[in-house]
């Protein structure tokens, strides 16, 4: 089968490889219907994180179950499934408390590489959610977002306590930030301020439910958010970037007692203790517990209540994965879908 392998910054290739098999009795192997390139894949692609040895890429996937291990009980061959990028047992105390992305038996599904024709998914019963029936083709992009970016944006909005009566600001206009807007809207937020200076992304933010666009960044962005909120700051801020500047922008744009939902993976960030202390905000985030939200998100998508798949503005055959990485790196595309 074919899969995407990264060799060095800027160098991703589609190669022939062994098809994965059931390695543990709790595994499933799926035939991937669609995968995609994640903003977090770009850290290595841009050389901002070490690549190390050549290794497969991709951790977002939807597909049809080919084979399951002897201990798999609820997932069956032939089902169409969505799963989180982290495999979780969904039964441990941490999973039951809502944090499957920190499961005591956690495994990274992306280790095998989801940008491929087939993928081994560990802990299949805990990790995968099947759709009621085989979905229409046009639902596949939206279902694919549930594997990571939608669930991550959703967690950002939940962690930021977006809801009725609240003003929510979103730092970051990548797919996660944009889907944070969609989540905040669905959760009933009164006002949603998207921080973006890119016209196509502003347009999508407005389509997803943003009420205001702020183009300023850093301290100017903070000043603008305060202006829009009677000097107090937003009740809820979703941080969907992960840099020092974006983290401080998020904290400073939040009113005292407000909530920052942090879903941008932190890179070289050091939070000044005194500023965090005196801000009196709530900080919560981490690798999104996507599995917690998956059943509801799949349901909303299948009932066509939300269309998060709009974040894909590039649709490529798997063989052209390198073009997808390049387009996202150059910010010509918000998110690239790859079809094996």
């Amino acid at each position: 089968m074919r899969k995407v392998v990264i060799y060095a910054p800027g160098d991703v290739r589609v190669e022939e490889s062994e098809r994965p098999t059931v390695a543990k009795p709790t595994d499933a192997v799926i035939r991937v219907s669609a995968a995609c390139v994640c903003g977090s894949d770009l850290w290595q692609y841009r050389g901002a994180e070490p690549v190390g040895d050549p290794h497969p890429m991709g951790h977002e996937y939807v597909g049809v179950v080919e084979e399951v291990g002897a201990d798999v009980r609820t997932i069956r061959p032939g089902q169409f499934v969505v799963g989180s990028f982290f495999a979780s047992d969904n039964t441990c105390e941490i999973c039951r408390a809502g944090y499957p992305s920190r499961c005591v038996n956690l495994e990274y599904v992306g280790a095998g590489g989801a940008q491929a024709e087939y993928l081994r998914v560990p802990l299949a019963d805990g990790t995968l959610v099947a759709t009621p029936e085989l979905p229409d083709d046009d639902l596949i992009p939206s279902l694919l977002t549930a594997s990571d970016v939608l669930g991550t944006g959703w967690f950002g909005a939940v962690a930021a306590q977006a809801g009725p009566g609240r003003t929510v600001a979103v730092v970051g206009d990548g797919a996660v930030g944009l889907l944070g807007v969609l989540a905040a809207r669905h959760l009933g937020a009164e006002r949603i301020i998207a921080m973006s200076r890119h016209v196509p992304r502003q347009k999508l933010a407005l389509e997803f439910g943003a009420t205001d666009i702020v183009t300023e960044r850093g301290d100017d962005g903070v000043a603008r958010i305060r202006e829009l909120t009677g000097g107090l700051g937003a009740h809820s801020v979703i941080e969907a970037v992960g840099t020092q500047e974006s983290m401080m922008q998020a904290i400073r744009a939040t009113r005292s007692g407000g909530h920052v939902g942090v879903v941008g993976v932190a890179h070289d960030v050091a939070l000044p203790g005194d500023e965090v202390f005196y801000s009196a905000v709530h900080l919560h985030g981490g690798p999104a517990p996507v599995r917690r939200f998956l059943p509801d998100l799949v349901d909303l998508i299948v009932r066509r209540e939300i269309e998060p798949g709009k974040v894909f503005d590039l649709d490529l055959p798997l063989d052209r994965a390198a073009d997808g990485y390049r387009a996202m790196d150059e910010r010509r595309a918000i998110k690239a879908l790859l079809r094996p």
Copy 2:
């Protein structure tokens, strides 16, 4: 009148000074019945924070109202009152959301120095809470704790979401940490682990409701907490110190999805973004919104349901304030009460 003034690290003096007067129509002036030395006063006393020009000290107080300004409506001369170290209007949006310590009209009551015979309290209606009648003398130490350390420990426990079914760990065995134990007990926590290596403080922690004592610190302390919690960490951790070591100890001792209540004023702390992110804990804290809790705390004390005044193990006339500072600096006393 007499008041305490700090001149330099280790140099606090009791001096004659002008008696404060009503400066704004929303002020009250109170005759201080009791004041005390705060752990945070020690930062300057120890030279860990600059002293600057000589200035009055103390921000914890109870007393009898002498005089009120023309606009004061609910507070009357002759009432016995407790107030927070921050004056707040208790009507702005931030106050109403529960964060009077970040009130848009915030003033620091300690500016005038509460370790004194008289104290000017700004925004008297918003800041002060009167007891139903003049309290018995033996209640005065407990009422005094409500002005800061009890309210701060309480906020730590609330921010850490201490409650039924939860294991709470407390980092720091000063008065705030010990009263965090008392608060966690009152809020119904199942298990309360006090981290302390000082026998008299361990004893008081047990009296206040601790179920376990951990004497190890830093990474060893974290390992011990994990041992006691099935490898997962505590649900709730109260951070009541404010150093880099204590903050990291608190974060690392908390399970994924758990809550850290941060009430130690951060000094030279930088939180590593990636570790905070992957910990997936909730972080919340800041200058405690004591005024939020004051009516309930005063009520619990007057009804003799809690006795937080036990944290005072040194009771001195105001003139011997320097002895109180010295005893706390040398950790011979947990907390020194000063009687003008």
